[in-house]
């Protein structure tokens, strides 16, 4: 057991910093720093710049187009991206669809879809939750009925992040409901431009909208877009859970926001400084937990229930950071000029430049302990898988 920052890692960090400095537009950087809303172009242009450098899919094998990074390089890249206020990429293609196709897809499917993910030419969303299947995901009912070379898909997906930006959807559908609910689920790759696909934005009370309802009405999806065997979709979904490693539990995001908080904090309220320190110490722990549980492991090791632990603590700390950033604004937490968060607003801000975004983010980040398997579901997973309760 030892700590050593290899020279290679130091040089790599410099390389990442130089790349971001060179390619990230100042206005996008400022928006991320102040918590303003990003447009699809802000995010996708950045993703394409990263793709051009060959860095879009760090957790793919080198033979499939990954950069061949060590786990610590992957961590450094994500941390530096956040610290430099680069937009977070839409994760569904590079982090979810890609690894599933690499594990379960046919050669033809890989040839069809992986290049677009690597180049950020296609943006993906993930069709998991449904109005009546939230925490109990396996009860999902979106139907896919075989009709010759196609499936006819009918049903609704909800809370679908980035569906309004996406070209394709990676969806869990029900192809059979005669047996156990986990059986009879299949994975379909659905072209969002097909007739019968409707995307309706769902407004959140935070007034930040990037999730949607996706409605499928008699959508004809070619059978060639089914991943793995019919009825074995749950295996793919579980594989994703066990291999979801590229997220850093928000360490970089929190560090970036805490750096901002420390800039803002004038030290006149020692109690507040103390709470920033408390959150900083908790984040330091999260960072080391992440390094220990994920980054120090080999690329193909399965990440076990540690992923649940990191999700719980990561989102709790993220929420604490968002709350502190809002509290730091004092009365300036109140003004809410919706257009101030959007593209093209160039009037002077009311109060500090980050004030409007801070409040919106506080409200919006309540989602973090709900999405991706609520924190209560994560506790159920640990209770069962680790503690044997």
């Amino acid at each position: 057991m030892r700590i050593d920052i290899a020279d290679r890692d130091r040089a790599f960090r410099d390389e990442v910093r130089a790349f971001i400095r060179e390619r990230l537009p100042q206005d996008v950087r400022d928006k991320v720093r102040d918590g303003s809303l990003l447009t699809r172009d802000d995010v996708v242009d950045w993703m394409r710049a990263v793709s051009e450098r060959g860095w879009m899919c760090p957790n793919w094998p080198e033979t499939a187009g990954g950069p061949g990074w060590t786990p610590s390089q992957r961590f450094i890249f994500e941390e530096e991206s956040y610290l430099a206020c680069a937009p977070a990429p839409v994760p569904f293609g590079p982090q979810m669809v890609g690894p599933v196709l690499l594990a379960f897809g046919t050669e033809e499917q890989k040839a069809r879809h992986l290049p677009g993910i690597l180049s950020s030419g296609t943006i993906w969303c993930q069709g998991y939750s449904e109005p009546n299947s939230g925490s109990d995901l396996a009860s999902l009912g979106c139907r896919a009925v075989r009709d010759g070379d196609h499936y006819i898909v009918n049903g609704r997906k909800i809370w679908t992040t980035n569906a309004d930006w996406a070209d394709w959807c990676f969806a869990l559908v029900r192809t059979d409901n005669s047996g156990k609910k986990q059986d009879g689920i299949s994975v379909l790759l659905i072209d969002m431009s097909l007739p019968g696909v409707t995307v309706r934005p769902i407004e959140r009370f935070s007034r930040m909208s990037d999730f949607n309802e996706v409605i499928f009405e008699d959508v004809r999806v070619p059978v060639s877009e089914r991943v793995y065997d019919e009825g074995k979709g749950w295996t793919c979904a579980k594989y994703l859970l066990g291999h979801e490693r590229s997220g850093t539990a928000g360490v970089g995001l929190c560090r970036q926001r805490l750096d901002r908080l420390e800039e803002i904090d004038d030290g006149r309220d020692p109690e507040f400084s103390r709470r920033i320190a408390e959150t900083g110490a908790a984040l330091e722990d999260l960072r080391w937990s992440f390094l220990r549980m994920v980054a120090a492991k080999e690329a193909d090791d399965e990440i076990g229930p540690e992923a649940s632990l990191l999700k719980i603590r990561g989102t709790e700390i993220q929420q604490d950071v968002m709350e502190l950033l809002m509290e730091a604004q004092g009365y300036f937490a109140h003004p809410f000029i919706e257009r101030a968060l959007a593209q093209g607003w160039n009037e002077p801000p009311v109060g500090p430049s980050e004030a409007a975004g801070a409040t919106a983010f506080y409200f919006d980040w309540r989602k973090a302990s709900i999405y991706g398997g609520s924190n209560e579901i994560q506790r159920n997973i640990i209770a069962k898988a680790v503690l044997g309760l």
């Binding site: 057991m1 700590i3 110490a281 220990r292």
Partner: protein, 373 residues
């Protein structure tokens, strides 16, 4: 970065764990801490024989020249078994002070004796009015006849009743809270004017109050410039008790989980109740978080940049304190009435965890230090 034990670390781990398994049943421990001395000379001799008493010291002074990670391995086992021998006070703190501040001559005289088990040390740094402030020192040292004479009091000196020599912080210049003007001294237990009032602590260990009245002491390190060494030693103690707390929480969580699986109420094991499952998961998370920080502390304690080291140790101590309090309190809660009894181990683990939280700066202290650095 490597989080796996090296081969040598693995062997050390197995050896200390075996010692705990074979010698520290809860009943044996209970009897041991009830004796006058509160710990066992035979165990101490075994520690010496196995080389554990020289782990952090340089090889030329009879030590094994190992890093903070090996100290962590030993301290975690000490926590697992609620081990009562004065390893922290002698090896980590007293020995740490001599290694940090001593002249070559002093190191050559003392460290091999510590490693051989012939000399026990205690580090006397705390004073009644100082709370956790390391530079609040009222103990005076006056130059006299080419040496120094110390007068004043030191409080809650861990391992004091059985120490052969003390490392004492005293003021040689400046006001009682100044950073400058603090000097470390070596004081022999037989020295004139020294009295030690020993007592048991809440966790079953031993400590004492020291009164010095014109007591002769040998300068250890730089005159007037002793504070950095005091801070370093206390940081080493933080890294060590972080690992000890991880061991304590590990055993306590195992015990509690076992209880949830076997205790039946309402016709089923109480571990079937989701409210208790989630509580247990949060205790598991608290332990894992403490582990991350104990490892971080072990890997960074030898860092040369003192401010970076201090900030890291403060972050570790804050998390250890939070985790220890939660795991300790909830393990008693989940055990119900049996958890409140003296004959059940959980309460004793809880007491040691709580006293660790009361040592070397509590959360308020370390959050302030973390924010200031």
């Amino acid at each position: 970065m490597d989080f796996d034990y090296s081969e040598d670390q693995q062997l050390l781990h197995e050896s200390v764990q075996r010692f705990v398994r074979e010698n520290y049943s809860f009943e044996a421990r209970r009897q041991l801490v009830a004796t006058e001395q509160g710990w066992s000379d035979a165990h101490w001799a075994q520690f010496a024989e196995l080389g554990w008493l020289g782990i952090p010291f340089p090889e030329e002074h009879g030590g094994l020249g190992m890093s903070g990670v090996e100290t962590m391995v030993v301290m975690e086992a000490i926590g697992n078994g609620l081990v009562a021998e004065p390893y922290l006070s002698t090896v980590v703190m007293g020995g740490g002070a001599v290694a940090a501040a001593g002249s070559d001559e002093q190191k050559a005289e003392i460290l091999p004796a510590v490693a051989e088990g012939k000399c026990k040390l205690a580090f006397a740094f705390a004073e009644r009015q100082a709370r956790y402030n390391l530079q609040d020192v009222e103990m005076r040292a006056e130059a006299a006849n080419g040496g120094y004479r110390l007068s004043g009091m030191k409080s809650v000196v861990f391992g004091a009743p059985t120490a052969d020599r003390f490392v004492v912080s005293a003021r040689t210049a400046g006001g009682s809270r100044d950073a400058d003007g603090i000097t470390l001294f070596l004081v022999d237990k037989e020295a004139a004017g020294l009295s030690v009032r020993g007592y048991p602590t809440a966790d079953g260990l031993r400590a004492g109050e020291l009164t010095l009245d014109g007591t002769p002491g040998d300068v250890l390190g730089e005159v007037d410039g002793g504070l950095p060494a005091v801070e370093e030693v206390v940081d080493r103690a933080i890294a060590a008790v972080s690992a000890e707390a991880v061991g304590l929480m590990g055993t306590l969580n195992d015990m509690t989980l076992e209880y949830l699986k076997t205790r039946e109420q309402f016709g089923q094991p109480i571990g079937r109740f989701q409210v208790l499952q989630h509580r247990m998961v949060d205790m598991f998370i608290a332990h894992e978080e403490a582990k991350s920080m104990a490892m971080m502390a072990a890997m960074r304690i030898d860092e040369e940049d003192a401010d970076a080291r201090k900030k890291a140790m403060s972050a570790a101590k804050v998390q250890i304190g939070k985790s220890a309090r939660f795991v300790g309190q909830q393990s008693i809660q989940l055990h119900g009435g049996i958890g409140m009894t003296d004959e059940y181990a959980a309460g004793h683990y809880f007491k040691r965890l709580t006293m660790i939280d009361r040592s070397f700066g509590d959360n308020d202290y370390h959050l302030r230090r973390y924010a200031a650095l």
